[in-house]
């Protein structure tokens, strides 16, 4: 095992450990911070592969953008400080087993596939190459996904705004007294909607 491999395993272990902490922490704000560290670990992996540009993007977009957004939405829900209820032991064991067997299963498959090593051949894509390819219409051009993503973000943003916007008071009352609400005796809550804006963004990018 050479130094490079040792560094790889160290970074992976760090990323996984932080990910585990993010999932198991009982305070939601701490989870977000653990997630941040886990994403930094992934950026380190990119550095290790010597694709510095991608690593920088990873830090700017995920660490700088997404996690900050997540933290924002946590604070917007007003319950940032409260501890989440402890998960049932049954569920903890179940999910740990599922994760373990999933990992073992995919590790086994990948291990037996026999990937061919590409040797020490590095792909050195310069920033300008990445930029040109992203907006090129020819071979290996990614202009269409690029444009489609912008439409997707537009609609996600409109969706967020519609959900999060507070209806004027008298309108809410008018709807609230409609007969279809018989099934839900609890007072209507707008809070639930705040959480939605978060997965809307994070599942995508």
């Amino acid at each position: 095992m050479d130094t490079s491999a040792i560094i790889f395993y160290a970074i992976s272990a760090f990323t996984l450990a932080m990910g585990l902490m993010a999932v198991t922490s009982s305070k939601i704000f701490r989870s977000a911070i653990w997630l941040l560290l886990s994403l930094v670990g992934i950026a380190a992996l990119y550095f290790w592969m010597q694709v510095e540009f991608i690593a920088a993007i990873q830090i700017i977009v995920y660490v700088g953008g997404i996690v900050v957004l997540i933290i924002f939405s946590i604070f917007l829900t007003q319950q940032a400080g409260t501890k989440m209820p402890k998960a049932l032991l049954r569920r903890t064991i179940g999910s740990a087993l599922a994760a373990f067997f999933g990992l073992a299963f995919s590790f086994n498959l990948i291990n037996h596939y026999g990937f061919k090593s590409t040797g020490s051949q590095h792909f050195n894509a310069s920033v300008s190459d990445v930029g040109t390819q992203m907006l090129s219409t020819t071979e290996h051009g990614y202009i269409l996904p690029f444009e489609v993503v912008s439409m997707l973000l537009l609609s996600a943003m409109i969706g967020c705004i519609v959900i999060a916007i507070k209806p004027p008071q008298e309108h809410a009352e008018k709807i609230g007294t409609k007969p279809e609400n018989v099934s839900s005796p609890e007072p209507e809550e707008e809070k639930v909607t705040e959480n939605i804006s978060e997965p809307l963004i994070t599942t995508e990018v």
Partner: protein, 470 residues
């Protein structure tokens, strides 16, 4: 080059244009809801007619986008369904605060489906799929004051995030083992090795979530129940139809080396889907949940057709989706109207509907007959062709059980029809005035249910388009 772009992508361009027209209208002076809805209905009608003119085959941007007459037809079916949904949501949207946003969300979702259907690359396929579900999650929350609506939206976004996770993991394994994302190159590189099989299973799981095949169907009923009826009908008809179209082409083209594997998988999944969909539909009391389970069962029948793996299967699936658009939207249209006027959504509320609302009763009954597959309606021919296509493989056990399940499904569809026409109810629903838009939608649906089954040129046309592709 530019004319190519404009001509081949014209359906996408039209949808994008509509989205921007809505944005600018929203930014401009205050308009009444009616003016928004009328403009949109006219534009959607224009869009539908435009879709039939001057379709060509072609590939753009290194196979990121491909189109053919068949794909254009599939998009037109979705356009038609979108138009009907828009007409039917008239009475619900009339009092809503966010009409333009509602249309923007549905149109973005439609745009995502178009890109997904046209994709020749797994990246574009994934983007299209995401774009077709994320706006819908926001739209499912459109009854802003209702808790159930938020709950449905949350369930939709979580389950779709999970399924996207499965799908992405599968795609990444496939990319890792083959080194390409392009549909036309993949079949030569896929073989029967365990890792690629695992990737295949994950990708299928992603699909199965979206079309709610049985082990992955748990979100369906809750989301359908919580979401506003217009969104529910869009989810059950348009997005399901779009994913089915892609499912067929991905299975038949990309995964053609794994044909025996997916045949066995479809065999088990389709039976499970039909049986569980049917059994749960029997015990539903809420009309939307009832239609949710009935739509799960319908997907099971479609998968029987897909398992045939021939041109006939593709044709019968597209044909069935067209029929399904008409019959399901007929049923949903009535539910939408009744729920927006009276707020009632339970099957027991529909008892004695025939006494007070004759037209609605007949529309609902014809829609349900077609869903059940009762002979003179189109639904019968649709299911018949699906079973014939499935029988092409010679697995008569599958066909036999599926046919038996048609009989079971008759029970619960007719139970609703009995409630409408025969059950006595001292306090039936009040007479409901049908707005012009809903009337138009009903006429289109009923005309579709009555004619599509009998008019053989439609099936022949679909089949000829598929035969041309070879």
């Amino acid at each position: 080059m530019w004319t190519d772009f404009l001509l081949l992508m014209k359906q996408e361009m039209a949808v994008i244009a509509m989205i921007f027209i809505l944005l600018f209208m929203k930014l401009g002076r205050d308009r009444s809801n009616e003016s928004f809805m009328n403009t949109m209905n006219v534009l959607l009608l224009l869009n539908l007619t435009l879709g039939f003119i001057g379709n060509r085959d072609g590939v753009l941007l290194n196979e990121m986008f491909r189109t053919s007459k068949l794909i254009a037809l599939e998009k037109n079916i979705l356009n038609l369904a979108m138009l009907i949904v828009s007409l039917q949501s008239y009475s619900w949207l009339k009092t809503h605060k966010h009409v333009p946003e509602f249309y923007i969300l549905l149109l973005s979702s439609l745009l995502g489906m178009f890109f997904m259907i046209s994709s020749g690359n797994l990246l574009m396929f994934y983007l299209g799929l995401e774009m077709s579900t994320i706006p819908l999650a926001a739209a499912a929350n459109f009854d802003l004051a209702k808790r159930r609506s938020s709950e449905g939206a949350m369930k939709l976004i979580f389950s779709s995030a999970f399924s996207s996770g499965c799908l992405l993991f599968g795609i990444s394994l496939l990319y890792g083992t083959t080194g390409t994302l392009i549909f036309s190159e993949l079949p030569h590189l896929i073989s029967n090795n365990p890792l690629q099989l695992f990737a295949f299973i994950l990708i299928i799981a992603g699909f199965a979530f979206k079309i709610s095949v049985v082990p992955f169907h748990l979100w369906t009923a809750d989301v359908y129940e919580g979401a506003p009826v217009a969104v529910t009908s869009f989810l059950s008809v348009v997005s399901k139809g779009a994913v089915l179209f892609v499912f067929v082409s991905v299975l038949y083209k990309v995964f053609s080396p794994l044909a025996t594997v997916w045949y066995n998988m479809l065999f088990i999944l389709s039976l499970l889907t039909i049986i569980i969909g049917n059994l749960f539909a029997i015990r539903q009391e809420n009309f939307k949940r009832f239609l949710a389970f009935s739509s799960i069962a319908q997907v099971g029948f479609i998968m029987v057709g897909i398992s045939g793996g021939s041109d006939v299967s593709t044709a019968s699936v597209i044909y069935f989706v067209l029929i399904y658009v008409f019959s399901n939207l007929a049923a949903f249209g009535v539910v939408a109207l009744v729920s927006s006027v009276t707020g009632k959504e339970n099957i027991s509320d529909y008892k004695g509907l025939y006494k007070t609302n004759r037209t609605l009763s007949w529309v609902l009954a014809i829609g349900l007959f077609s869903l059940a597959g009762v002979p003179p309606t189109a639904g019968f021919f649709g299911k018949f062709f699906l079973l014939i296509a499935g029988a092409g493989k010679g697995n008569y056990l599958l066909i036999g059980i599926a046919a038996l399940n048609i009989v079971i499904s008759l029970y619960y569809y007719l139970r609703v029809v009995k409630a409408i026409f025969m059950d006595a109810n001292p306090t039936p629903l009040q007479p409901i005035r049908i707005p012009l838009m809903s009337k138009l939608a009903f006429v289109v649906c009923i005309a579709g249910v009555v004619t599509v089954g009998v008019a053989s040129p439609i099936y022949d046309y679909i089949y000829s388009l598929i035969a041309q592709m070879q």
